[in-house]
Structures are given as C-alpha cells and as structure tokens.
C-alpha cells in the first residue's frame, strides 16, 4: 500500500489536492482512500490530507504514521509532526523557492524536493493557486500517477481555467524531472 500525506494551511487547497490525487489513481485503476482532518476548519491552520493507494480494497481507517511520500504546501510546516512521519527515503515535495541544496543544509537526513509552485502558477495565470503545479511535481517525484492521467483528472475536475491548470501541472512535472535528472548526473 502506498501511503501519502499532504499538508497545507486551511484555504491553500491541500484537501482538494488530496482528492484530485486520489481521483487520478482511481482513474488509473487503483483502489484509493483519501480523507482530510483539520482542527478548527479555519483559514491558516494546518490541514492534513491522507491518501492511500492499493491494489485491493482499503479497509484501514486511521492516520498515516509513516508516509511513503509527502507533499507540503508551505515550507513553514516542515517541522516536528510532519517530519516525524517521514523516513530517510520519503520524498518530500515542498512548495518553496529555496533550492534542494539549501534544504539539505537546514534539514539534513531528509529527501526534500522543492518546487516553486507559486512562480509556476503565476506564470500560468493561476495566481497563488498552486494545486496543479504541485500535483504535477509530485506525480513526477512519485513516478505515479502517469502525467497524462494526472492532467486528464485536472482537466475534468477544474471548475475553470482548464488550460492554465493543465499547463501548470506539466510545468511542475518538468521542473522536478529536470531537478532529479540533474541530481542523478551530479
């Protein structure tokens, strides 16, 4: 079973991102479970979204203690409770303009993969709405779901600005593709 944690702040779209990711895995033929929990249902407070993906029906109903992958909407959340769910090999895709080398220095022992979601979203006419860019980046880091399935899901589910969301998703994907290829060559 693949267990994924998404954390953001209320209003950033972590819950929607979790649902979209689950829809994409489901469209790819996998069994999924996605749920969110939030303390105060308020803007700005941490929101966790949990996604489980498996080949058989998912029965377990509890929080994820040990994540196989993490998507973090806000680098200020990369601390205590969220990092406690990460293992040394857990890819942590984080929405940040800082570099991987920079995170390597401040958070040694973690596999942090930054993507500047805001810059990508702004370039694609989405302002500060970073879901699509981050989901593209995350799909590349996880090597699943396939980019075309992720793009199709966003295209189907986006309430508006379909082309912009698809373009942001593809750019997020490419961004991590280049970063990981670069890391391999070093």
């Amino acid at each position: 079973m693949l267990q994924i944690m998404i954390q953001g702040r209320g209003g950033q779209g972590a819950q929607t991102a979790g649902d979209l990711l689950a829809m994409a895995f489901f469209a790819a033929g996998r069994q999924v479970q996605a749920f969110s929990s939030y303390g105060g249902a308020r803007r700005g407070t941490p929101v966790n979204s949990y996604i489980r993906v498996d080949d058989r029906p998912i029965r377990v109903r509890c929080d994820i203690d040990s994540a196989d992958a993490i998507l973090c909407f806000d680098a200020s959340l990369l601390e205590g409770s969220l990092l406690a769910t990460a293992r040394a090999d857990t890819p942590i895709v984080v929405n940040s303009s800082r570099t991987a080398a920079d995170f390597g220095r401040t958070l040694p022992g973690y596999r942090v993969i930054p993507v500047d979601g805001i810059a990508i979203s702004r370039r694609n006419g989405l302002g500060r709405i970073v879901n699509s860019a981050l989901l593209g980046a995350f799909a590349r880091a996880l090597e699943a779901p396939a980019l075309d399935v992720m793009v199709r899901t966003l295209n189907e589910q986006a309430p508006k600005l379909h082309d912009e969301n698809v373009a942001a998703c593809r750019e997020g994907y490419r961004c991590i593709d280049v970063q990981l290829a670069g890391a391999k060559n070093e």
Binding site: V32, A34, R61
Partner: protein
C-alpha cells in the same frame, strides 16, 4: 460548482455498474435520494453539512423530488420530521454531535409516536471543549430514546444500511439512526457502488402506513393517556424493538441477493472461527481491526473481530451465541460515559452475564476524542489484554 459536484453531475449520466468515487457523506445523500423520501427537514452542522449540500444539489438538478425544509435549529428539524412522518410519508434527515443532542427531547417523542424517520448521524465529539474529531458519545448518549441504531464502517456500508434502515423502520414503526465516524468515513473519498434506482424501488416499496394523520379520518395521536395505556404503549415499543435483530439479518440477506453486497446483518463475525480472543467494536475502527486481525493471524495468533452493526436494540442472543466459549473478549470503545467508561463494554458485560463458558471481558477506551488508533496500537491492546486480568471498569488505552 465545486470539483466534487461536477464529478457527481457526470456520474448521473453513467451506468451504475462501476464504482464511483465519493465521500461517506455523499454516499448517505445518494442513499436518501434512492429511497425517495417526500420530506427532508435538515440543519447544517460540521461534519454533516456535505449530506445536506448534496441533497439540495440533487434537488436543484431535478433529481430529488423531496420537500427540503430548513428550520432554525435541529430541535425544529425533528419537530418537522415527526408530523411529516405521521402524515404518512417517508422522511429523512441528517445531523451530528451538538445537533443530535439538541434533538434529544424529540427523539423520545418520535419513537413514542411510532414515526419511522431515518436519520444519519456523523459521530463527532461533544462539547465542551469544542472539537470535530470522530467519537461516538453523541449517538450512544441517545441509546434510551427508542431509536434503532446502526454503526457503519465505510461509505458503501452507510449507503446500503440507510436503504436497509428504511425497510426495517417502516416494518416495525420505529425511527432509525445510522451513524458513521467523522472524517474517517464522513469525509473519506472512496469507491462506492451506487445501486440502480429500480433495484432500490424493488427493495423498498412506497411507504403506506395503515394509520396516518388525515383530516378526512377521525383518529387521535399523542393524547393524554392513563397509566395503563402508557404501560401498554411501552410494551408495544419493546415488542417492536425485539423484532429488529432478526429483521436486520433478513433485510441484509435480501439486499445481498439483490446487489451482491452483505454487511453481516446485526453482527458481523470476521475470522472468529477458533479464535481465543475476539475484539468487539463499532464503526470505522472495525476496518483497522481487520488489518490487525490479519497480521495477528499471520503471526499464528487466533484472534477475530465481532463487529456490532446494530447497537439498538442490542442483539443480545446473537452476541451470547457468538461469544460463548471464547476465552477473551476485548471491547474497544470510541466513546466515553463519565462514571461508567465505555458504553459498549458495559452493555456487553451485561449481555454476557450468566452464560456458560462466559469470556473474560476487557474494556479499553481507545480512540476517545478521535485519538488515532492504528493496527499496531490494536495489536498492542491485544497483548496487554492477554497479559492482564480483566477489570470491571473500562481502561484508558492508547
């Protein structure tokens, strides 16, 4: 229209033979839509609100032909449900936590009036302090109100059980409540098989009670009665309740013939054969217990799960039969009754009292207030129970 609303709009056009992704709350709304109630009084409350949102959306799309009434409080919601039901139409509502508690007075009234209302409740902590976590104290504290109570583990089970509950409630003329846990079920997106309307219509005929409020017919309801009339009325309610466990089994069997899905009737036994320790619990924790049971069985330990789907009436005879001869029973309660401990623990001890080969009953308060309970936690509880003498009172465990 949000993403989920769009998804459902498209779903309507597709054949219902493949599962759809939806939350537990939207599964409840689908069940209500398929059951074709005529009146739905409802008041929003976290984490129930998506049920109400989805029903109003169905209605605005012309797919839900019910009168949706939105009074100023849950007390008024139930006050609207009762006369609507007595007028002879099918009634559905949904609530959670504080909303359910505000209905309390009228919950008694509904069962006394023999109004077969079906209500979904999302199990959420009760104040104070304020919180939104899964905890079953809200509905368990309504156990004496004369409502049939089901607890569900998944979105699919919530959909199926809601439709089954209408059949049962309308046969015995008692209201029924289906509860599922906040977030773990209410807000969990998962695959759900939506039955075809004609399947549900075949299973659930139109509600046509022998007696109803009708200005053209002289009958009296809710009158002042003598002691003897009151006494006999309570006996009638008890007799109706007594029919429910067998009906829950029958209706679930019939549903399985129609849809291929059974949820076990009043109780579900999961890997209980030859078990020397059986875990007893309700709601979403059952899914997590299944994982723990499988892991313990793989490690050579004879452990099983007895899932209580029907809590009111408590299926005492079936419980006694299922647990006689089992060495150890471990009850996991995601609720807290101050001064008593776990409600299911204490009810189970009473149900098993006096049987031959009575098990040793351990009661753990696990997951109270939404505290996380993982399969590993459950394996730890099992080790702890096996190594200790059972206590009369419930034990805090995490």
């Amino acid at each position: 229209m949000n993403a989920r609303a769009e998804l459902t709009a498209r779903e309507c056009a597709t054949a219902p033979d493949r599962p759809l992704l939806m939350t537990g709350n939207h599964a409840l709304a689908w069940a209500a839509r398929l059951a074709r109630p005529k009146v739905v009084p409802v008041y929003p409350i976290t984490p129930q609100t998506p049920v109400m949102e989805k029903l109003t959306e169905f209605q605005s799309e012309g797919r839900f032909d019910a009168e949706i009434i939105t009074p100023e409080s849950e007390h008024s919601v139930m006050a609207a449900c009762i006369p609507a039901s007595l007028a002879g139409v099918r009634v559905f509502t949904a609530t959670a936590s504080q909303g359910l508690l505000l209905m309390h007075e009228l919950l008694h009234y509904a069962s006394g009036a023999r109004a077969p209302i079906v209500m979904a409740n999302i199990n959420r902590t009760v104040a104070s302090p304020w919180a939104f976590w899964p905890d079953q104290t809200d509905s368990l504290s309504q156990r004496d109100t004369g409502w049939i109570q089901f607890y569900s583990e998944s979105a699919q089970e919530s959909l199926d059980t809601t439709i089954q509950a209408f059949r049962i409630a309308e046969q015995v003329l008692l209201p029924a409540m289906i509860s599922h846990d906040a977030f773990y079920v209410s807000h969990a997106l998962e695959p759900v098989q939506v039955p075809a309307q004609e399947q549900v219509d075949r299973f659930l005929p139109a509600y046509a009670p022998a007696h109803r409020l009708d200005t053209g017919k002289i009958e009296s309801w809710g009158n002042v009665v003598t002691q003897d009339m009151y006494y006999r009325h309570r006996q009638d309610i008890e007799a109706a309740m007594a029919r429910v466990p067998a009906l829950a089994d029958d209706v679930d069997r019939e549903w399985a013939q129609l849809t291929g899905r059974s949820h076990g009737g009043a109780l579900e036994r999961y890997r209980c054969d030859g078990a020397n320790l059986v875990i007893v619990t309700m709601g979403s924790m059952c899914g997590t217990v299944r994982e723990a049971v499988d892991a313990l069985r793989d490690a050579g330990q004879a452990v099983g799960l007895l899932k209580v789907r029907l809590f009111r009436p408590l299926p005492v005879q079936t419980l006694r039969a299922a647990l006689a001869g089992v060495a150890e029973v471990l009850v996991l309660d995601r609720n807290h009754s101050p001064g008593v401990g776990g409600v299911l623990h204490q009810e189970l001890r009473a149900a098993l009292y006096g049987i031959k080969n009575a098990p040793r009953v351990h009661g753990y308060l696990a997951g109270v207030g939404g505290v996380n309970v993982s399969p590993e936690n459950i394996a730890g509880f099992v080790r702890c129970a096996q190594a200790s003498e059972p206590r009369a009172e419930s034990v805090w465990a995490r």
